[in-house]
Symmetry: C2
Subunit: 192 residues, 2 copies
Amino acid sequence: SKKPLSKKKLSYSNRGMSLEEDLNQTNEYYRLHNQAIIHKKPIPIQVVNVNYPRRSAAKITEAYYRKASTTDYNGVYRGYYIDFEAKETRNKTSFPLKNFHDHQLEHMKKCVEHGGICFVIIRFSVLLRVFLLEYSDLAVLWEKQFEADGKKSIPLKTIEKLAYELDYTIAPRLPYLTVVDQIIDRMSHDYS
Amino acid sequence: SKKPLSKKKLSYSNRGMSLEEDLNQTNEYYRLHNQAIIHKKPIPIQVVNVNYPRRSAAKITEAYYRKASTTDYNGVYRGYYIDFEAKETRNKTSFPLKNFHDHQLEHMKKCVEHGGICFVIIRFSVLLRVFLLEYSDLAVLWEKQFEADGKKSIPLKTIEKLAYELDYTIAPRLPYLTVVDQIIDRMSHDYS
Ligand SMILES: [Mg+2]
Ligand SMILES: [Mg+2]
């Protein structure tokens, strides 16, 4: 990884927690400490039928999951628009690109063009290793898959080289803003 | 209003369209023309029961609406984090503050602290007049309601004075970024 963060592996196991829970707790920590305002977007659901029982809450009785048109998380940090997707795999040696979708890549591309900071946070759940991969690096790997003999997954070795590894800490669980600080340091500040 | 936009009232009626539809079309226009990447967040829904019928999509059979913890829309424009809430009223002389919630005001306050641009877009549906009111102005009116004899609604006259009026145009329907440009012009560019 470009710059490994200090090793502070948790002594207790967090194998029971999903990456989403890790990130929700992390974002809550960042909000409570007023470091960043970043939220998970709700899952898009198409509501077809709703009952309105007397004296109680409206009950949705028929609905379907819709495809997300964007990414999982967005918000603001140090004046920057932050936008990222989180995905995990049980694979141990590579990360399958099919975890991402065309429209998510397209969304991140557009956000970067407008001055946003976009990345994916990927977890190898069995290895319990988490990486932050910038959109610009993901985009190159994504395009390569469509070439002759293009790889449909990213080898762990490539991820170790291109991405930033995130170590679990007590609080926040996954301190990814430390990496975002490094990304900001490399950016120009004027997009207007 | 601070600076009325050029008058280009639509000749056809748009009374059938909700403010949300107006803004969704506007944001789609902005995305297609690559001017800004701003989306409506999905409505948060708590899923309680899901059926998985063979050979067809998962069907949610019990779910409830949850209270939104943030605002309706967010995204990125000219490198800035944009975050806003949209509300409409059928009142003709004032806008009831009860349309907004504590946690939405709190969310906008935090986002502004981190360099975001926050506002509300309010529509008087019967008058068919739409205004963009910056968070900073709304916050003052919001706090005043808790004082002795505090007003629970914002008189239209006050809105005309403090807010920017948005005129409907053919495309985009509600060109609110023109106002955001003016807000950016007044801001400092360095939040780091
Ligand atoms: Mg995800
Ligand atoms: Mg609304």
